[in-house]
Amino acid sequence: MGQHPTPPSALLSAPARKLRNLMFAALALLVLLNLFIHPHEPHFGLDAYAGFWAVFGLVGAVVLGRAAKGLAHTVLGKNEDFYEKGTEDSMHAAPAEQKPPHHH
């Protein structure tokens, strides 16, 4: 994973780069608007500040993605035949424990 010889942005075609920059501009515009449009009533201190929900969305997505993938790569992830092996093998032996998958 993540073994890209060239940086991903270099792989983008010219129109794709343009679209990406347009998206970045739109995000900046949203934060700018947040300076003028405020919550009806902030429910806890921080959400009164401009950009709170931008940070919440970005940090939330990164934390969730990292944490979920981390769980999948350590305790949760198993080979697809994990349960089938358990039923077809002898019923009395515990199913063979799988090694956690390696990704590096």
Binding site: V31, P39, A61, T87
Partner: protein, 587 residues
Amino acid sequence: MTEFLHPSIFFVACALAVWLLPGRLGRWLPPVAAALAIASVLAMQPGVYTRIGYLGLTLGLGRVDALSTVFAHVFAIQALIGFIFALHVEDRWQHVAACMYIAGAFGCTFAEDYVTLFVFWELMSVASTFLVWLRRMPASTRAGIRYFLFHILGGLLLLAGLLLRHQATGTFAFEAADPAAARFYDILIMLGFCVNAAVIPLHAWLPDAYPEATVTGAVFMSAFTTKTAVYVLLRAFTGFEILGIMGTLMTIYGVIYATIENNARRILAYHIVSQVGYMVAGVGVGTAMTVNGACAHAYAHILYKGLLFMGAGTLLYAAGTAKLSDLGGLYRRLPWAFLWYMVAAVSISGFPLFSGFVSKTMTITGAAEAHHTWLALGMEFAAVGTFLSVGIKLPYFAWFGRPDPGIALRPVPRNMYVAMGIAGLLCFYIGVQPGFLYRLLPNPVDYVPYTPWHVLQSSLLLGFTGLGFYLLRHKLVPEAKINLDFDWVYRMIGRVVLALARRPVEQIDNWWTEFYNRAGLRGLMNVADGSAWFDKRAIDGVVDGTALGVRRVGRTATGVQTGRLQDYLAAAVVLGLAVFAVVWYAG
């Protein structure tokens, strides 16, 4: 009686007709039954109808009020969409099972007492199990058995609760329980409901079975089982604070798994857990606004989740797999499936102009205004995860992601696209005309979704979630793996119990063999043979090799000589009825 025609009647009649009519004629009937159901729901006036006496007991089959109407409304619409999506299916038993399943859902919705509710509740369990089995694949057979066992557990909890409750209060009336004075029997009933609402950790059946169901069966199942459970929770357990906490945990739990799963239909199944979490949380917070939010979200959710399952089902139908690790780059060859999937994806993510925006924000705002700040924040976090997993990850890796691997695609029947189009347009219509939905809600609506702040807040949240995906896009590549869940715990419990029970059961079996050899119960044996023949012929007639498959699996699973799971299940049902009868006459 003129004001109320029970919608279940249409579906039961339709199931019979599809069964009896020769050839392919039958499959045109279910959409007609659904259209009649829509008409009957629109014509209903609030009131109490169709009370029948049975064993000295009054069963109420027709309680029509604002709460039952909003659910019946969307059930009828989704039945029509689902049957249009399934129009090409030639296997009549799939139509019969779907009709009986929907009849069960309507029966629960209008039930006035717990006995009626229980009967229709069990009908739903049995019929939906067939929607899994009728895919006729070994994995579906096994998943269907686990699904059915789990729902038997839920049904027994409900049955125990309603009988104890009757003993204590003398009534079967299906009314609200008092959160301040919950009794043991209330907890049992609530646990029974929570099995069907897929409240963690009782949710394991859902992501296990839905990905194994038929393409069209999963569309029906995504709409009715969990939402019927939300309805009965609203009816009986509004304001139980534990549900607020469990619901919020569900919203987050579901998106964690949706982020790492590989099978598109399993991603969507985990995401049902997350979405139903919003509704369960709304029930638990229990203010007028969050109850409205739960109803509105159930309504919107049924339409867009059905559409998501149609989109993923179309991938499975056309490409033969729903695994993201095998798909990619299909936007050129399946553009309509992509378009309608994206309509559902932006709806579920809560984009302004689409249905999720007018329902989800209502529940979250309601929780915040009731000073449940942590619950509201948890739900906002889950909204981030929703867009990340179902809104971007799934479509990105299915339709873009990498060059088209060149899988041969089966042509997609036009009716599937028609059904997706109807659902997609409804998602958009509710998003721009929220008044249509708000008028149906049980409490007066004091919430305006389209304020500059709500629109900006959603845009910020979703826009920057998108940025998060952009940064992580190489980390989130789907992998051909499965992920352990509470499912694993239940399977281990099952194995341990079987290992412990094996010896005593074998012993009893030996004694019994000895006993009838000596007593010469030949006549009884003949009867048993007759019933076994009927079982084999009748059941196999319904699902071809499936019954035999079930037996094979049953034998492997139990590892005992007499291990026929079907027989055990039948025995369990008979035993349950006998217990019921004894309690009934003794009480």
